[in-house]
């Protein structure tokens, strides 16, 4: 039994073990030194590959920016339509310095965060409802399929009429994009929970609520978190489209405004802000996922 265990030493023990062996006899010393050398060589190789990847990435970015700048200034492309990096940087510098950019960023980020958090929560709640009432899930199955294949953005005008020109409409467009996908994905996970775990809880006399709390929900936790990540992307689409349709402020509004006044430097600089904010949000959720999902779980 214990030798079985020895086949899978915990990852963290490796370095501690090699440094402890240093006090041993001469032969043992050599062994430890040899292992250390191999490990160091492995680490060097890893680091050099990492460095190479990063430098090529930076090089590509620099080349793209330089080419764009040159193309714009030398009029290979129309600077009125495609602008160029220094112009965009100047635009961003002035709008963030005089504070006109920040309210737009704030509004859009708030709408997006509300969109993906609420979308995931509501979707999970609906999935729980379908799991709890199999009859309901059978009844709603075709409707879910139809609603899921519908391009939800097409519902925009209806939301605007029903909820007015503002936050609620934008949120509704966003939720229409996130909720159903979430419901379907998480409900499938709920249903596919490992039958053995379900049987154990039943055999121990567990109720349906206990089954949900002890097995179904925790087993689906990684899927819920990864759905949250997918929903970050969907929520950005929903919010920007929603802002295109109705908003008086926000990054989507800035894009439409820039388009209407033919200021494509504004449009492109807003795109840069969106890319930065969306990446930050996605990385934030990815970090959260790492924190929540890794602890003690089987590497499966």
């Amino acid at each position: 039994m214990s030798d079985d265990k020895a086949c899978h030493p915990a990852g963290g023990d490796k370095e501690a073990a090699s440094s402890e062996d240093n006090g041993g006899p001469h032969g043992g010393d050599d062994r430890a030194g040899w292992l250390k050398g191999l490990h160091a060589a492995y680490r060097r190789r890893e680091r050099s590959i990492g460095a190479a990847v990063l430098s090529v990435q930076l090089l590509l970015l620099a080349a793209f920016v330089l080419l764009w700048e040159a193309a714009g200034r030398l009029k290979w492309i129309d600077p009125l339509l495609f602008s160029y990096p220094t112009k965009i940087a100047a635009q961003l510098a002035s709008s963030s310095a005089d504070g006109t950019l920040w309210p737009h960023v704030g509004v859009t980020v708030a709408e997006t965060a509300a969109g993906f958090v609420l979308g995931t929560l509501i979707g999970t709640a609906l999935a729980a409802l379908l799991w709890w009432f199999p009859f309901v899930s059978k009844v709603f199955d075709p409707y879910l399929v139809v609603f899921n294949s519908l391009p939800k953005v097409a519902l925009g005008p209806i939301f605007i009429v029903a909820m007015g020109q503002g936050f609620l409409s934008i949120l509704s467009v966003t939720l229409s994009m996130t909720v159903i996908v979430t419901t379907i994905g998480i409900y499938n996970r709920f249903r596919d929970s490992e039958p053995g775990l379900v049987k154990v809880v039943r055999l121990l006399g567990g109720t349906r609520l206990q089954l949900f709390r002890l097995v179904i929900l925790p087993a689906s936790f990684p899927v819920i978190i990864s759905t949250l990540k997918v929903n970050v992307g969907l929520a950005w689409v929903g919010v920007i489209v929603g802002e295109f349709l109705v908003a008086k402020e926000g990054l989507g509004y800035l894009i439409i405004y820039g388009f209407q006044v033919f200021n494509f430097t504004l449009v492109l600089s807003t795109l840069v802000v969106i890319a930065a904010a969306a990446t930050l949000m996605y990385q934030g959720v990815a970090l959260l996922e790492k924190k929540l999902v890794s602890g003690g779980r089987e590497p499966s």
Binding site: K5, V200, L204, G296
Partner: protein, 265 residues
């Protein structure tokens, strides 16, 4: 309940599985009584209803006809009096070993300190002292099945139903666990029903082996294990001079049953 009445009883039990394609008779008019502290095994070809009988005893579903009695009272559903051990350990990967072993107590809402202590003691007894704070992914298959044993014993069941709990393990770990399970059950005076494919395991562990026939599932033959073998731990029992004769008798019965049932798989 008095000690004279059987701990477990099947009275004229039949079970039918109904599906879209029709209804099939899995178990037909089975009579079985298991005494207090007795250890019996059910062996038989696949399709003989072994697992169905175990599920009926556990109260997972009611029989189509007849009665299932536990301590003289009809079984109405899973209860804390009956523990069930599966072929897989089915530990919850996100719970520590301590919390996995205490799962049955959590479900029953038994959170007293004495109950917690018993979980720790059980883990120690099955040879897992020091692993309480670890997660199932950090343990080997044999150790995980030991946790499952502690989880089954924690709610203090009177009866243990063992559904091929050793069949997924390596030979030497399997034999270690057979010894451990038998010793633990004897010490605690539990009644046990073991379902297995392994005739040697059935012969080495039980007081009585029931050979089932199939199509439909029914009892073919009961073979009592000689006192001399019964008293020994399973690993020792396998070495006993009369063990081979017992094994051969089971072998003959099982083969006869398989031929009778036809190749209706």
């Amino acid at each position: 309940m008095d000690d004279k009445s059987p701990m477990l009883e099947l009275r004229g039990v039949s079970h039918v599985y109904v599906g879209r394609k029709g209804a099939s008779l899995a178990v037909d008019r089975m009579e079985l009584a298991v005494g207090h502290g007795e250890f019996i095994s059910l062996v038989g070809p696949s399709g003989c209803g072994k697992t169905t009988v175990l599920s009926l005893l556990a109260g997972l579903f009611p029989p189509a006809a007849g009665q299932v009695l536990l301590g003289g009272k009809p079984v109405t559903g899973p209860s804390a009096k009956v523990g069930y051990m599966l072929q897989q350990d089915c530990l919850l990967p996100w719970r520590t070993i301590r919390d996995n072993a205490g799962l049955g107590l959590d479900i029953a809402g038994r959170r007293a300190a004495a109950e917690r202590n018993r979980v720790e003691m059980l883990l120690e007894e099955v040879g897992l002292a020091g692993t309480e704070g670890k997660y199932p992914g950090e343990l080997s298959g044999g150790m995980r099945q030991r946790v499952a044993l502690a989880r089954t014993l924690a709610p203090e069941p009177d009866v243990l139903l063992l559904d091929e709990p050793f069949s997924a393990l390596d030979m030497h770990i399997k034999m270690q666990l057979e010894d451990l399970v038998q010793a633990t059950l004897h010490k605690l005076g539990k009644t046990a029903v073991l379902v297995t494919h392994d005739l040697a395991e059935a012969a080495a562990m039980s007081d009585r082996v029931i050979v089932l026939g199939r199509n439909p599932g029914r009892i073919r033959k009961e073979i009592a294990v000689p006192e001399a073998i019964r008293r020994l731990a399973p690993t020792e029992a396998r070495k006993h001079p009369s063990f081979q004769a017992l094994f051969d008798a089971l072998w003959v019965e099982l083969n006869a049953g398989e031929r009778e049932g036809g190749s209706h798989e």
